[in-house]
Symmetry: none
Subunit: 209 residues, 4 copies
C-alpha cells in the first residue's frame, strides 16, 4: 500500500514475529499443536514456511512463544488488579468479572486460549506452570484478598470462599467451555449468565440477603 512494499521481499523484521505468532495462534487454536501444519501458519501469515524458522527455531518453540504472547495481556490485567482495594467489595468483583467475561468468554480468542491450554498442557507442562504462576494463581489470590477485604469491612460474611476462591471464579470457566463446545448449537445468554453469576455471588457472600 505505502511505498515500503517495493518488491516481493519486504523488510519487516520488527513486525514479522508478531504476525507469525498471530497466525500461529489461530492455527494452533483451530487444530491443536500436533495437527497444525507450519505450511498453514505460513500461508495465514502471508509468508513461506522457511521464514518461520528465521524467527523461531522449531514448531515447539513457536507454540510456546505463541502461548506466552497470548498470556501476556491477561497477566498484565491481573497484575494491575492487585492494587489495594477500596469501596464496595462486591463492586470490585463485579468489575473484575466484567473484564474476565469480556476477555475469556465473549472473546473467541480468549476462549481458544483456555481450550488450547487444557488440550496441550499434557505435552507442554510449562504451559500449565506459566498459566498458574502468572494468571490463575494471582487471580485466585486477588479474589481471596477481595473477599477478606469484604469480610473486614462487614460487607461479606465469613465463608469458605476465603479458602476456595475458585468457587467464585468457576462459572467463568464453565461459560467459556460451554461457548467453545456448544456455542453454535446451544448458545448461552451471556449477559443473563453474567448477571446470574453475580447474583449468586452476592447471595452467597453478602452479610444480609
Amino acid at each position: 500500500m505505502s511505498d515500503g512494499r517495493s518488491g516481493r521481499r519486504q523488510r519487516r523484521k520488527e513486525e514479522r514475529p508478531g504476525e507469525i505468532l498471530e497466525a500461529a495462534f489461530e492455527e494452533f487454536a483451530l487444530n491443536g499443536f500436533a495437527a497444525t501444519r507450519l505450511d498453514d501458519v505460513a500461508a495465514r501469515a502471508g509468508i513461506t514456511k522457511g521464514t518461520i524458522y528465521v524467527y523461531f527455531p522449531s514448531k515447539e518453540e513457536l507454540f510456546i512463544a505463541t502461548f506466552k504472547e497470548m498470556v501476556r495481556p491477561m497477566m498484565e490485567h491481573i497484575r494491575a488488579l492487585t492494587a489495594a482495594p477500596e469501596g464496595s467489595a462486591l463492586e470490585i468483583l463485579r468489575t473484575h468479572f466484567r473484564f474476565v467475561y469480556d476477555r475469556m468468554v465473549a472473546d473467541r480468542r480468549g476462549r481458544e486460549l483456555l481450550r488450547m491450554l487444557m488440550a496441550e498442557a499434557g505435552r507442554f507442562p510449562g504451559l500449565a506452570d506459566r498459566w498458574h504462576d502468572e494468571v490463575i494463581g494471582p487471580a485466585i489470590e486477588t479474589m481471596r484478598a477481595v473477599v477478606r477485604y469484604g469480610v473486614a469491612r462487614g460487607e461479606f460474611r465469613p465463608t469458605v470462599a476465603e479458602v476456595f476462591p475458585h468457587l467464585l471464579f468457576s462459572p467463568v470457566l464453565t461459560a467459556s467451555t460451554w461457548c467453545s463446545l456448544f456455542g453454535d448449537a446451544h448458545p448461552l445468554d451471556l449477559a443473563g449468565y453474567y448477571e446470574a453469576h453475580l447474583e449468586m455471588l452476592a447471595r452467597a457472600l453478602c452479610a444480609e440477603a
Copy 2:
C-alpha cells in the same frame, strides 16, 4: 488350527474390541488424537497394529468409538437421575455431586475424558454434540428440575439458578480442570473443596441461611 486353542481364541475375540478401546483411551487421553500412534495403542493392548483394523476401520473411527465407550457410564448415571425426586432437594444435589466428583474429578480417567473432549471437540464436532445431548444437557435439566422441586417444596428460594443451573455445576469443571493441569504442583484439597462447594450452594439456594 487345533481345536484346543480355538476356545481361548474365541474368548479372546469377544474381548478384543473392549481391550482395544481401553488401550486407545489411555493413549488418546495421554497424547491427544493427532499425537497418538496406533502402534502404541496396539502395544498397550498387547496386539499388533494390523489387528486394530480388524475391528475399527480407521483411527478416527477408533477415536469416536473410544469416546462413546467412555461416555456410556456417565450417560447411564444421568439417565438414572431423572427419576422423580423425593426428600430434601439439597440432599439430592449432595448425592448427585458426590457421584460427579468421584467420577469426573477424583478419577483420573474421568478428568482425562473431559480434557479430551475439550481438546478434540474442534476436530470432532460429533463429540460435543454427543456430550451435550447425552450428558451435560440432561444433567443441566435434571439439576433444573431439582432446583424447581426445592423451590416448590419451600426448601429453596426462587433464584436465577432455575435459569442457569450451570452455575451450580461449575465448581466441578473447575476442580476437574485444576487437578488435570495443576494437580501435581498445586494439589487441591478435594474433600474440603467439595464441602465448600455444597456450603456455597446451600447459602445461595436455601430459603433461610
Copy 3:
C-alpha cells in the same frame, strides 16, 4: 523368479537388512554420508524409503551399520592371520599382502571402504576407533610379529620395521588411494606394483641382499 514373489509385498525379513546395507554401501561410497539420499538407497535396494526405517532407526545408524557390515570380513581375515607363523617369514608377508591387495586395492568395494573411512571419520569417530581396533591395529601387530619371527629365525635383519611395521604396509594404502583417485586417467600396473612392493620389502628386510 521363484513362486515366492507372489505380490507387490514380499516377506523378506531375513534378506532385507542385508540388501539395504548393500545398497547403502554403494550410495555412501559414491556420494559420502551427507550427500547420499535415502531415496536413492531405497531405489537401489528396490524398496521404498519407509522400508529402510523398518530396519534402521536413522540415516546415521544405517551408515554405522553399513560400515560394520563391510568391516567384518576384513576383521575376520586379520583374526585368522594371528596364528603362529611357520616357514619363510617373507612368504608369510607375501601371502598376507596378496590377500590385502586383492581386498583393499583391486576390489573397488574395498577401496571405497577405505575412502569412506577417511572421508567420514571426522563426523563418526566410532568409525576410526573400530577400524583401528579391529583391523589396522591387529594387522600392524601381526606384521610386527612376523618381522620378529623373521629376525628370530635369521631370515630378516633387525630393523626399524619392528618399531614401525606401518612402513611395510604403506604401499597398499598408496595403491588403494591411487586407484580410487587417479585410476581412470592414470591406471596403475597393479601386478607390477605388487611385485615391486615385495621386492623392496625383501631388500629392506632380508639378511643378505
Copy 4:
C-alpha cells in the same frame, strides 16, 4: 560513503576473498563439502552469508577455489624441486621428505587437505586431476629423476623404485592418514617414524648396506 572509511573498506575488500577461502577451508575440512554450511563459513570469516556470493558464484565454486588456494603452495614447492639435482641423492630425498612431512603430516592443514581430496574426489573429479597434474604427478617424476640420478652416480642400485617411485613416498600418506584418523587415541612418534622411513629407504636403495 565518507572518505574516512573508504580506505579501510578498500583494504578490506582486497583481503576478503583470502579470508573467505581461509574460513571455507577450515569448515570444509571439518565437515566435508555437503555438510558444510555457508553460514558457518561466513561466521568464521566474520562476514555474512550474502557477502560470500559477492566473491564466489556458488558453494561449489567456493570449494574448488578453496582447494586451488591450498594446493598452490604445494605445487610451488614441487616445481622448485625439479631443479637439476646435485650432491648425494639420498640427501636430496631426505630434504624433500623433510619438507613433505612438515607440510602434509605434521601440519594439520596439510593433513586435512589430503583427507578432503580423498573425501570429495568422487564428486569433484577436477580435484583429483589437479592434484595429480600439479602435485603428485610431478612429485613422482621428481623422485624418479632423483632415483635415476642416484643410480647414475653409483649411489643407488638399480631397483623397481625407478618404475614405482610411489613406494618411496607411500609412508608419508600412511603417516598423514594415521594422524588424521587415529592421532588422538594412538599418536604416532613422527620423528622416529621419519627416521625409520629414511632408513628403510636407504637400505632398499643404496648400493651397499
